[in-house]
Amino acid sequence: MNVQLAERPLATVFPGPATALAPSKTKITARDVNVFYGEKHAIKDLSVDIPDRSVMSFIGPSGCGKSTFLRCINRMNDTIPICRVTGKIEIDGQDIYDPQLDPVQLRARVGMVFQKANPFPKSIYDNVAYGPRIHGMARTGTDLDQIVSESLEKAGLWNEVKDRLGDSGTSLSGGQQQRLCIARAIAVSPEVVLMDEPCSALDPIATAKIEELIDELRTNFCIVIVTHSMQQAARVSQRTAFFHLGVLVEEGPTEQIFSVPHDRRTQDYITGRFG
């Protein structure tokens, strides 16, 4: 269900950057996507367009399929043997479920940040350098140093760790670890960054930092974020999609979803009547 709506002027109930940006060209197109876990029909006939250089958030109650769809975008679901995906997902017009396409290369183009910060138990430097190394993105050591420092700067972590790049990534605090994971994801210069509830294990201050970071990253990447916090969705995203029971109920500009939702279920969810 792809709901395209004309934008309406809105009262600025929602602060933050949501009102700032005009919609840009579409990066990811999904058409009639169905996902099955064995017998379970996890996502039903999902179609959505995700614009480039902006943030789109997926909201909805637990088990509604938003993480499942997120993991379809970089074919992470391939690692689950019983998972089956039908339909079409395109990035820049290229079908990512094309048998010719190598999922490993796809994942270099579509980075991912997970719910729980999962730095490698290696040094901070090696965490960030790992991706560029395996993809041969740096010809010399100085190139690699530059990629690492740029990525850490973009992730807003450089000033905190520049003197201890040799320390273990796991020695950082929770928020720092999550920013390290973001730095690791963007070090391979992906086109899309998927974030699966990146702040669910963090305190409000660390969350604020990450949200700020997401807002900055959107100038370079197409970002898709799954979140349980509607405030977070309102703060960081330009467009929002509401999932319910494996169905994409409604999708549109964030202001509109949170102020004048078209669907009764969306209305009930954002006003806290369920979920």
């Binding site: 290369q105 991706g131 395996i134």
Partner: protein, 579 residues
């Protein structure tokens, strides 16, 4: 308000009662049960600890003395005509010389007065057959020593060594203070005449021993009589007659007594020699000079002693003469105790004092090298495949179940398999570390696969996802991230598996690693034995010195096992990670 007065129903009626007597009794019973449970645990632990302590203490007590060894230190004239009769002076010629000959000559020179073949032979019995090996090495390495007199350590025989470690007999010694002692000769059968009744006490204790023995015989006769068996009347009569004779000797307090091998040995130390008493009265002793006397002069009161070797000669592994010789050498300060390096530098031998565990250690090392070289790569690769790549279907389930079953197969079955396949079918050499290693590899492989899989499974999936998320292939994710994190666990499992293999005996018996092998193996295909099999072989030998060697080898084996398990624990502690 009606709710308050309404009778309790449903949940309200079932609310937990914590105040009544019944409730308190239940609580007390629960506390008692908990205390009982705790004490049962403590008890189980205590029993285990006691067993362990007893076991280790027993092995240490038996084995530790074997780490020391006794030598006699003598000035040995290295006569050129004996060690190098052809006068070549090359190391080969010098190595072939008769060093035992010079060693015996030196011993004879240090203990003068042993005339005749038998006496000489008994003197030489205290030396090991390898006594001159050290001297041989020294001289062949330094030909300049030929013709000179060298102070050399000569290894003592196993029984002499055991005696010097104090396991054979206690020695008591009392000075003869009352009278003058006069020997009638210096060697052979002599008499020692006393001017007072210094031997009265000795005689009395001999007579008492006779009475005790008579009593024992009578008890035996009574027991036989009461048993009511038929056809034993004759034996009973004999026993009674013997007892009566003993009683008679006991009753006649002043009559001379004859000593035999069933009684403690009594000797007179006089004029630098030792006379073993065979017949004694209160003021006269007849006996054999075990160590010849320096002279037949009178010995003043206080200068001679009555010596008792408490354990009867018949119950010992060493005879009176050897003890007498060793005691004399010891009083001359010629006995030296030192660390038993031979135990770690030589292979097996028929002579306990020459036997060492070097061959078994090297054999174990070579065998384990083959085992780990096969097991680690195969086990880890199998584990990675099963854990990370294998599709979940009936075939992999079947493989999994069988790997777990294989871990429980008795080890001797692997030995039979090795015998049938490696020796009989493939035709690999018998008794070789190569085959031993192959068989042990079969034995340890399931352990390593199971441990490795557990270690791989313990790596959180978030690490795999993180690697896949930045575009690593599955293989890269495993090799770069999962395997390094699983390595401590894999190493721990491997070391424990190796410790298991190190202690394994049964399968190696079947493939012929149980042979008596003197040479230290130099390659994987040479005949060899391993530590536990060496222990098994030694434990079977009759010489008491080998029992000590057995315990000593067990100590070495346990030390290696503790070391390996300690390493495993250390690895686990050092690299243990929590997510």
């Amino acid at each position: 308000m009606t709710d308050l007065v309404a009778p309790l129903t449903g949940f309200a009626s079932r609310r937990l009662d914590t105040t009544s007597d019944g409730a308190r009794a239940r609580l007390r019973a629960r506390y008692r049960a908990e205390a009982r449970f705790r004490w049962l645990g403590v008890g189980a632990l205590a029993v285990t600890a006691v067993f362990l302590v007893v076991l280790i203490a027993d092995i240490l007590v038996k084995g530790l003395p074997a780490f020391w060894q006794h030598h006699v230190v003598l000035d040995v004239p290295v006569a050129a005509d004996v060690v190098d009769p052809e006068g070549k002076r090359t190391p080969e010629a010098l190595r072939a010389g008769d060093y035992m000959g010079v060693a015996r000559r030196a011993l004879a020179a240090a203990m003068p007065g042993f005339e005749g073949r038998t006496a000489r032979k008994q003197l030489n019995e205290i030396l090991s057959s390898g006594a001159a090996d050290e001297l041989r090495e020294a001289v062949s390495g330094n030909p300049g020593l030929v013709g000179q007199t060298v102070e050399a350590r000569l290894l003592l025989s196993d029984n002499a060594d055991l005696y010097l470690k104090g396991v054979e007999t206690e020695i008591a010694s009392a000075a003869g203070t009352k009278g003058m002692a006069t020997p009638t000769g210096t060697a052979g059968e002599i008499k020692v005449l006393l001017s007072a009744n210094d031997l009265a006490g000795t005689l009395a204790s001999v007579k008492t021993a006779l009475a005790v023995r008579a009593e024992a015989l009578e008890d035996q006769a009574n027991a036989l009589e009461q048993s009511g068996r038929k056809g034993v009347e004759e034996s009973i009569g004999e026993l009674r007659a013997q007892a009566k004779a003993l009683r008679g000797r006991h009753g006649n307090a002043d009559a001379a007594e004859t000593l035999d091998g069933t009684m403690p040995s009594r000797l007179i130390a006089i004029n630098g020699g030792l006379v073993k008493i065979t017949t004694l009265s209160s003021s006269e002793a007849t006996g054999e000079a075990l160590v010849p006397l320096a002279s037949a002069d009178d010995a003043k009161p206080g200068t001679w002693q009555i010596v008792t070797y408490e354990t009867p000669e018949d119950s010992r592994n060493i005879n009176d003469r050897s003890i007498a010789i060793l005691e004399t050498l010891r009083s001359q300060g010629r006995i030296e105790r030192s660390f038993n390096t031979l135990f770690f530098t030589s292979g097996d031998s028929r002579e306990p004092e020459l036997a060492g565990i070097r061959g078994a250690l090297v054999g174990s090392f070579l065998t384990l090298l083959v085992t780990i070289g096969l097991c680690l790569p195969i086990g880890v690769m199998a584990a990675i495949y099963l854990e990370e790549f294998a599709p979940k279907n009936r075939f992999t389930d079947f493989v999994e179940i069988n790997i777990n079953n294989l871990a429980a197969v008795p080890s001797i079955v692997f030995g039979l398999l090795g015998l049938a396949v490696f020796l009989n079918f493939i035709g690999l050499p018998r008794s070789a570390p190569l085959v031993g290693g192959l068989v042990l590899a079969l034995l340890v492989l399931p352990t390593i696969i199971i441990a490795s899989r557990a270690a791989l499974r313990a790596v959180p999936p978030s690490i795999r996802e993180a690697a896949l998320g930045v575009g690593a292939s599955k293989q890269q994710a495993i090799l770069h991230h999962v395997l390094p994190l699983a390595m401590p666990g894999i190493m721990t499992g491997t070391i424990i598996g190796m410790a298991h293999a190190l202690g394994e005996t049964a399968p190696l018996l079947l493939i012929g690693m149980v042979a008596f092998i003197v040479d230290v193996p130099k390659s994987f295909s040479e005949a060899a034995t391993v530590l536990p099999v060496q222990i098994f072989l030694w434990s079977d030998l009759p010489e008491p010195a080998f029992q000590a060697k057995t315990a000593a080898a067990i100590i070495v084996l346990l030390a290696f096992l503790f070391l390996m398990n300690g390493t495993a624990i250390w690895l686990r502690r050092k690299f243990e990670r929590r997510w």
